[in-house]
Symmetry: D2
Subunit: 257 residues, 4 copies
């Protein structure tokens, strides 16, 4: 892929409407600092939220999205299954997905992982220290050996995920827990990154290192080779077209998607 | 786990009823040679098929199953979602799952993988040569460097699966394809093995090396440490119980499953 | 492999001779509680130490060893290269290797990993909490979600190792660090497990859960399928013998070891 | 890293001097088409060969190298150990390494892998079909589902390598073998890619898809975050510098490289 990806920053955007404490921290929504940072870094950015029609994620929007970031929390159940299916298909076709914090329990993440996404948690303003365990990985760029978030919610192991294809970060929490907090996955033609921090009652998405990670992740998750546009096939889904070069004519190929 | 696992051999068992050619090869069903072999090897074996009530996979049966093997093909859609949910839960709780051949496209495999399970295929009686690429893995026991199946259906890459946690076999096909034909996955407390061969029109499940692999896989996929029995919790699912040792009392732990 | 493996418990055994504090904790050497536990669990166990001829690891001993455990610390440099070569070869031929604590910096571990084995460390009697992050793995058997060692040396990331083929444990330390403390590797026909705890000034190798892990690891690392005995080939090493079945005679196979 | 990496294309360059057949195909050396292609793609490229002083890989050259490509075959033994050590250190510090074809058996590759690098081989001009099994990986960009090389040497499994951190390609050969022909590894701060094709008697390095892979690999293996320059530390190697923020002063950190 040439050029920086087109990113759609998706946010549930409910806490910001109903919880004064959150609204003070994120007056323009939690998506705002993320979207602003990515724009400043040269990405083409749009924002979408739960309460828009189709959650702001129509077929048309997805077709113009190379990487989707996802923050959801208390309204996972309200996300429509047909939109989840649409995103799932798009990821397998090549779109990147960056799942943030409580998105571990979103429908789309659980569908892509095949596991519960379960974990332990405690909200008591503990310090989180995020250690880089794969310094060679592009998502570790510019972070040094670790960085700290002064106050965050704790997420603890066991985390109900497949073993990551690359594990980039492990978090340490004051209270005695660890967490695989930066996890890379390949699925179909798409790349997925789960990144732990981001409880709404802390100003985590203004933290420079957190924003750096999200930027690195958006760049890494960018499609390798364009995105297969299966929506355009009008029902006749034939995602894999292959030439039968140099074969006996009597041998035919079939394809199960 | 001490002792050999209790295995339930599940078979769609339709081709055997409707297709004379298949019935000749497998007069007692495709499950029969698999079940017989595992019994001879000392496993405790039961058989279950699609057309039994609840597909033979009631809550009670699953509670007595340490490892489930799965062969399905033309009736994937008929498998009830509630049974799929039950198996999915049981796998995450520790039950092993050995998915055979066209089971790549079963509901349970796709749900656990999060991907399409798609592949290329061609049924023209080609030779398949199965290479062992991880000779250290227990599933490779007793196989040597490769083994051959004189006539099989071809399955070809790209195969729509997550990158295996261990890749044990790669198949070579006469017509020009390769396939990741022995794939290990950890999911929750459970272990999953996908094994490629087994088209119904060939006597593949009488092949000694194929039976050896299924036996090896059943042993490997056996629960590590018992199976969490969440069915018994009657709605109050609290799978992770943890002591709050050495902590301030004001710090509580919560758990999202 | 049938039957429990023959284990050789190797210990540098120097601190026990020169450091009174250590000698009090381990009057019979640090190898003693490990060897005793494995014997009690039914393994066939022998002990070998640095100051024996050939470090107690002659060709003959290795030929009778299915799994080798390794504890070394201050005398890594004294281990002879020819013995390291012998062990390296034996591991690739199928022998299991369980590397304990400061063995992260042994010649054999670095040779097998290809990396520095570097890490941070601090000896100040901190609590270590070891979290199980792959509860499906056989090495996690019987441990629950985590266990604690009241006082241990700290080892911290970044740890100079290849990304493990399976990561089973992550340690949390009071002072603010995390560590990948249970790491599985496949190399050739052999299996390797690195396990972090075991600083000589603490009675770690009497900790029941630590002993449980070592036992689990020895069982897991046991050879899958016998061990190729290349020492017997008298110089003509031809480890991979393969039949040229079903091929044109004009096509020959060659082999580079 | 911003900007394209500085690539040093290393070639043994002996066959070209002594074998007429090879000289006809590669009159300017096998490095020439690789270097030319990378230059055309905008990389800053230099060439180094075995018979130059220090094999053309002085400390100074390595300090100006972000990615090194390596083709060696019949003179592996002549590569000086001190140069191998230098490259090894540089890779762990962040330099990318792209190992080509018979480089599987080079000192540097075996040292980084910890395994034999062994394989089967046969030179009989067979067709190789290279299948992309991880279409999401950047190294798969622009290749489609597979590509073919009309005549190549066969390399067959078992291949004596660690399980790749990502497996991108699997090769199919006419004679009945498969091979993991595109293998990614993270080691320290460095990234390594092994790519199979390139026997000297075929014009493989003029094949557009082969050149595309080498370009993709050079971009992927580019350092994430600069390269730690340990050569500059004049003996006092202290690669990991870390602040002791927010800790009791009595707790000190130590570091073993």
């Amino acid at each position: 892929m040439s050029g920086l990806p087109r990113v759609t920053v998706w946010n549930e955007n409910r806490h910001e409407q109903t919880d004064e404490e959150v609204a003070k921290i994120y007056p323009d929504g939690m998506h705002a600092p993320i979207a602003n940072h990515l724009r400043n870094e040269g990405f083409e950015v749009r924002v979408a939220t739960l309460d828009e029609p189709e959650h702001g994620l129509s077929e048309e929007v997805l077709q113009q999205t190379d990487v989707l970031t996802w923050w959801g929390h208390k309204a996972h159940r309200e996300v429509k299954d047909e939109v989840v299916e649409r995103i799932h298909r798009r990821v397998l076709d090549g779109m990147g997905l960056v799942v943030l914090h409580s998105g571990h329990y979103s429908k789309i993440f659980k569908k892509l992982m095949g596991t519960t996404g379960g974990l332990y948690w405690r909200t008591s303003g503990e310090k989180e220290r995020i250690w880089v365990v794969n310094p060679a990985h592009p998502i570790a760029e510019g972070l040094g050996e670790y960085f700290e978030i002064p106050q965050e919610e704790m997420y603890g192991e066991p985390f109900g995920i497949p073993e990551p294809d690359s594990l980039v970060f492990i978090s340490w929490f004051e209270g005695g827990e660890v967490f695989r907090s930066g996890c890379c996955y390949y699925r179909g033609k798409g790349k997925i990154f789960y990144f732990r921090p981001g409880e709404q009652i802390y100003p985590t998405y203004f933290h420079p290192k957190v924003l750096q990670v999200i930027k690195n992740a958006a760049a890494w998750a960018s499609p390798t080779d364009g995105i297969t546009d299966r929506s355009a096939s009008k029902g006749e889904i034939d995602p894999y077209k292959i030439d039968l070069i140099n074969r006996p004519e009597s041998i035919k190929w079939n394809q199960t998607e």
